[in-house]
């Protein structure tokens, strides 16, 4: 199944959900609005036959006031890769969990919850995974502030910062 065929099938089924869809570097690349992510994932897994969830990562699009969860999906039986991006509002980042489809989503979703504060409905065990349980905030959000998080003094990309000394 070529990337274009994959896209056609997804478009035919979930046309209204899709924001953008294109073939990029031979991979199907789809952006959807978040509500029906579980259904689309189930369609990709069960009807298109892409049964292997490689990666799940959250992205904070602060400029657009949105959060994104990107699923990289492939198959062990056929070539082809799909990148599915589900966009959700930033002030209410809630998505359906895809743990019923892929066991591996469990820890990936916990990580996205931990570092970005995205909540996954019907997740069996949604709690922090890398940070301590009592941590406040979600560090991978672009507006995360922490007094211990100090930029390097020689980071010359920031206005008003010190230029790195070249001699000792």
């Amino acid at each position: 199944m070529t990337a274009e065929e994959i896209l056609q099938q997804i478009r035919a089924r979930f046309g209204s959900e899709i924001r953008t869809s294109e073939v990029r570097r031979g991979e199907a690349s789809v952006t959807i609005t978040g509500d029906r992510n579980l259904e689309i994932c189930r369609f990709i897994k069960e009807e298109l036959g892409f049964e292997y969830l490689n990666c799940l990562s959250g992205v904070d699009w602060i400029g657009e006031n949105e959060m994104e969860v990107a699923y990289a999906i492939s198959s062990l039986r056929q070539p082809g890769k799909i990148i599915l991006r589900a966009r959700i509002p930033r002030n209410e980042p809630v998505l359906s969990s895809v743990v019923p489809l892929w066991g591996t989503a469990n820890w990936h979703e916990r990580e996205a919850f931990d570092l970005l504060g995205i909540r996954f409905e019907n997740h069996p065990d949604l709690r922090r995974i890398l940070l301590p349980e009592d941590w406040i905030g979600h560090p991978l959000r672009r507006d995360y502030q922490d007094e211990r998080f100090v930029p390097y003094p020689w980071d010359d990309r920031k206005p008003g910062s010190v230029v790195r000394p070249t001699t000792a």
């Binding site: 490689n54 990562s57 990107a70 990148i83 892929w102 591996t104 990936h108 890398l130």
Partner: protein, 380 residues
């Protein structure tokens, strides 16, 4: 009632009182967790009923740091992910950037990457075999494996000046060409290394204790392996012939001849046997690379300030531990907007709660060892 029977009766009564299951902490400081990992294990007598891993003791915001560094500056951080296969981390990251930016790297660099990558795979499997042997009480094996690994580290030291965190690869190729005579040293190493593998077999494969200890333990079914997206020797041990070097070739792996060893039952033994055979296949690849390697430059002409075009990429390579993926979102600036590492052991470890229940607590050490975890990569 005889004294013995009376005693047995007492023991039975006492154990009946305390038959409830017990939660036991394994780690964070425990020699067999290979780093700082805490396993909360529910025991019913000696049998594991449930396992909950806790990690993050070495979380150091790798991805957050990545968002605040230029593309080139991230390379040294990638060394610290899987410190037993730093070259492969460099490679995975550089390859993702090259794909994102559309950079073609010189032929010689491609060959050297394969050559170094496969030597790294041997070194990584050697340290796995050694420490796994240590977990099972096979100390001689540990010394032997480290002896050979030391030679590979010497080779890497000669090219990069480092013994562990090499930072040797660059976006567009390699930092340096290899020194004169280095390829001959690699050849000499292979001459030494090839007869060693049968020697390891005498301590492992042919060893009845070794066999009894790990056969039929920690079975991972192919269905679970796919559902939990296991990769590398974990997936192949479960009988699925899947290797990104063959199935989704990157670099120039499509030019080499090698086999993909697979297991049949998905137990600890199969994972051991897959890694053991992979070392042989890596030797084959290195030998082919040595005969075909062309002269020429090792670094493509790339800009000093690299900018990636707007877009995202999920790029994956077959690291010694499995599928090492980098998901990079670029916003057109000189820093990645989002940089996520799909660490193979993070994903493989998530299958541990499926593999452990039903086996003895002594087997838990063997099962955990067979996952080949590197906690720096799990915690990132």
């Amino acid at each position: 009632m005889t004294t013995v029977n009376l005693h047995l009766q007492q023991v039975k009564e006492r154990t009946a009182e305390s038959m409830e299951e017990m939660w036991v902490n394994m780690g964070p400081q425990h020699p067999s967790t290979h780093g700082v990992l805490r396993l909360l294990i529910k025991l019913d007598g000696e049998v594991v009923r449930e396992c909950i891993p806790y990690m993050g003791y070495m979380h150091r915001c790798h991805e957050k740091i990545g968002e605040n560094r230029a593309y080139v500056q991230i390379i040294p951080y990638t060394d610290r992910l899987d410190y037993l296969a730093s070259m492969y981390n460099n490679w995975a990251y550089c390859l993702a950037c090259e794909r994102l930016m559309g950079i073609q790297i010189p032929e010689r660099a491609e060959y050297l990457r394969v050559l170094i990558g496969e030597l790294q795979r041997i070194a990584s499997h050697l340290i796995w075999l050694g420490t796994f042997g240590l977990d099972l009480g096979n100390f001689t094996l540990f010394m032997w494996c480290f002896r050979e690994r030391e030679m590979i580290l010497d080779l890497f030291e000669a090219v990069s000046g480092q013994r562990l965190n090499y930072s040797f690869m660059r976006i567009g190729g390699l930092a340096l060409d290899v020194p004169e005579g280095w390829l001959g040293d690699v050849k000499a190493f292979l001459q030494w290394f090839k007869p060693r593998l049968p020697e390891y077999d005498r301590l492992t494969t042919d060893n009845i204790i070794w066999q009894k200890r790990i056969q039929g333990v920690g079975i991972l079914t192919p269905e679970d392996a796919v559902s939990y997206a296991c990769s590398g020797p974990m997936l192949r041990g479960s009988g699925i012939r899947w290797d990104l070097r063959k199935n989704d070739p990157y670099g120039i792996y499509d030019r080499f001849e090698f086999d993909i060893p697979v297991g049949t039952r998905g137990d600890v033994w199969d994972r051991f046997w897959v890694r053991r055979q992979e070392m042989e296949q890596s030797v084959r690849i290195v030998e082919q690379a040595l005969t075909e390697i062309p002269p020429g430059p090792v670094l493509a002409p790339v800009a000093k300030k690299l900018r990636a075009p707007v877009g995202d990429i999920y790029s994956r390579v077959e690291s010694p531990r499995g599928e090492l993926g980098d998901y990079i979102v670029a916003d057109g600036s000189e820093k990645p907007y989002r940089y996520k590492v799909r660490a193979p052991t993070f994903v493989n470890l998530s299958a541990l709660p499926v593999m452990l229940p039903g086996y003895l607590v002594a087997d838990a050490v063997a099962v955990l060892g067979s996952v080949d975890i590197v906690l720096c990569e799990v915690d990132r």
